[in-house]
Symmetry: C2
Subunit: 416 residues, 2 copies
């Protein structure tokens, strides 16, 4: 705990209070980030664990699926030639010599004049070359009357019609869907190589913070950013390690910055004051590449490298923290996980119900609600009001070269 | 294992081969499902486990956030009246009596003529009623020169400005977002009541099936539906229990149907033949409400109740299984989990590159690819070709009253 200092001496906080000398553009910050965020190496996971993960190898099938020709209809496996000329007014009779179900092979060869009752998916018996559908047939004790013709190969699924041996069925970089798991299973895959999930160390700083779940009391507030960042990291494909509040002491923060992780997020203490240890520690022990970004909120954000690992500095104000996460940290994590770096929010276009004001030279992240009147900017008092993001349906990004949008303008809305 | 029967006797399979006597419309099947699928009861989970779950209670804050008035800018806590008339050409001096950081209370009352250096988020000291921003000030040893005026309350965040005590901050039915977890944490929530996740028993039947991960051999094929259904159930908020292949014996299937679960999915054996045990078992021991649906693929689908639990019969052909899951089973699971019953796929509109043919009286689920030429229907040979769903970018639903769409028509595309 830092004590209040009832003293008149000038402190380093004057520097902080003046803010950043200059701010990097969002565009430059993203360029630096994209140049330094890397897709991680692969690891092997079981098929059941692979859903939603990103494939790190091309999958080439070593087998045909199916490995045998099979019936595509319920009916009779026949010699097509035996049905030539068959019609309802000219039924042709074939001797039923048995039945074959999926998973079994019929034990005899079908001769001319014979038929085998067959179910969809069952292997075509030797000798037969077509399936006469049940609708064109009439069973009579031990024979079947054909009421129609079938051509050679009709209703016969060919070897490899689903997957041909040697085909690349799924390519590296694909995020695995449920049906992909089905297809992988059908070719006998027990495990696949996927991009390893990034391990993300979340460092929460701020002497005013109480651990999550603690009712706020006195002049301290509950830690909102820790639980929020954990959920965000998980959403973007990362695994959080040791999340929690770290005392605002340089040694403790440095030790946390050096935890065994792929990406480090620091919430709070990201500005330029004497309580903002992380920026100085990164400057001293690594590289603080970007510090102060021309955006609102989140201008006291930063990023750099420590021990070759990405460190993202997120402001302590929860709206700023969310915004900086979404612009920068989430992008780095998604890239590391092999996913698309793009915003993970669906978007639509909508008409502004009221004007949305920004300023040239900075990017704005404006929370909005979707109302019957259109896209309604939320009146918000500041970056500390997290409930503005829970009341919001989404947000609009106003680029740096825009002063904002007039009422009635069409805007791109990202939906939370 | 059912053996092949090289015999000429007429069997029950003739019934199956003729198919369903009549098929229920998709609309009626959905009505029955919606009348019988229910949101489950609630359970308490820790905040960290609540992301993505559906809130089962209104959350009313017992506390104000913040619980104290605080600085919204870095600067000086002052009496607003002391700044009246201050301007760059008329700087007014105040005595700096100390500094206050977030989490601390300044131990003295600020008197007229005094100022306390204050950081964003720190409690406003007693006596002060405004914050003079750092940009309007000039520190000189133990005094600060005010270069501008501030009104009473300026840059002071009020008690409860984020959350006022007694406010409902999140309502029952909301799927929790990352920022919701942050807000819940800020009011001291340690756990919340959410809709319990449905426990889904997946019963895979089919004597031709090999367990997932087994290379296909002989006339048997790898189980594609098991891994696919597990991933689908998890995506929709369910927990799978005992997934796996159940031998095609009535006693074994009945025992699996009576496993302790909220919803039962049966893959395969869903039609009307002698190997299709599940429909008869449900008819005998429960209610088979719907069997045979006017759609392609997936027409041999069904649904009913056994021991008051929903049972969904999904065809064994993997494309049909996916389609029937998406139309019916997923809907039931999402409803049970408290989520929206709607399709969980994002959609866009696109122009058909080629005509898409259907037939009046049935609903079609057509796999498509998005190409530079537009929405391209995939040429597919049948419901057994799972790779048609992995090559597809999504699907188009053709309603029962449509014969399909002409090339150039605008269609709604759901994206996998």
């Amino acid at each position: 705990m830092t004590d209040s200092k009832p003293s008149g001496s000038k402190t380093h906080s004057d520097v902080r209070m003046r803010g950043f000398a200059e701010r990097t553009t969002v565009e430059l910050a993203l360029s630096w980030l994209d140049a330094h965020a890397q897709c991680l190496e692969s690891e092997s996971v079981s098929l059941a664990q692979s859903a939603g993960k990103v494939l790190a190898q091309d999958i080439v099938s070593q087998t045909d699926v199916p490995g045998f020709s099979r019936a595509m209809m319920d009916g009779y496996a026949v010699h097509a030639a035996d049905t030539h000329g068959a019609a309802p007014y000219n039924p042709l009779a074939l001797a039923i010599i048995g039945e074959v179900l999926p998973g079994n092979q019929f034990p005899a060869e079908v001769q001319r004049g014979q038929a085998v009752r067959i179910m969809t998916g069952a292997p075509i018996p030797q000798g037969a070359d077509a399936v006469l559908p049940a609708e064109y047939s009439e069973a009579q004790s031990d024979r079947v009357l054909c009421h129609g013709e079938v051509a050679t190969g009709k209703h016969v699924g060919l070897v490899g019609e689903d997957v041909a041996r040697g085909t690349c069925i799924l390519s590296a970089g694909r995020r695995l869907r449920p049906q992909d798991l089905g297809l992988l299973s059908s070719i006998g895959c027990q495990s696949v190589r996927v991009v390893r999930q990034p391990r993300v160390r979340i460092i929460i700083t701020g002497n005013e913070l109480l651990p999550p779940g603690t009712p706020p009391h006195g002049h301290r507030i509950g830690d909102a950013n820790g639980p929020m960042l954990q959920a965000l990291v998980n959403r973007d494909g990362g695994i959080t390690i040791n999340p929690g509040i770290v005392p605002d002491q340089p040694a403790e923060i440095l030790s946390a910055l050096r935890d065994d992780a792929d990406i480090i997020l620091v919430s709070g203490g990201s500005s330029v004051g004497q309580e903002d240890h992380a920026p100085s520690l990164i400057t001293e022990h690594g590289e603080l590449a970007i510090h102060g970004i021309a955006m609102r909120p989140s201008s006291p954000s930063g990023m750099g490298l420590l021990d070759d690992r990405l460190v993202l500095l997120l402001p302590g104000n929860p709206v700023s923290c969310l915004c900086a996460y979404d612009f920068f940290a989430g992008r780095a994590i998604r890239t590391a996980a092999g996913r698309s770096a793009d915003w993970p929010y669906p978007f639509t276009y909508g008409r502004l119900a009221r004007k949305l004001v920004s300023a040239i030279g900075r990017v704005d992240y404006a929370r909005i609600a979707i109302t019957p009147q259109g896209v309604e900017p939320l009146a918000i008092s500041g970056a500390s009001v997290l409930s503005s993001t829970t009341r919001a349906d989404g947000f609009v990004i106003i680029p740096a070269d825009s002063e904002g949008y007039a009422a009635g303008a069409d805007v791109k809305v990202y939906h939370y």
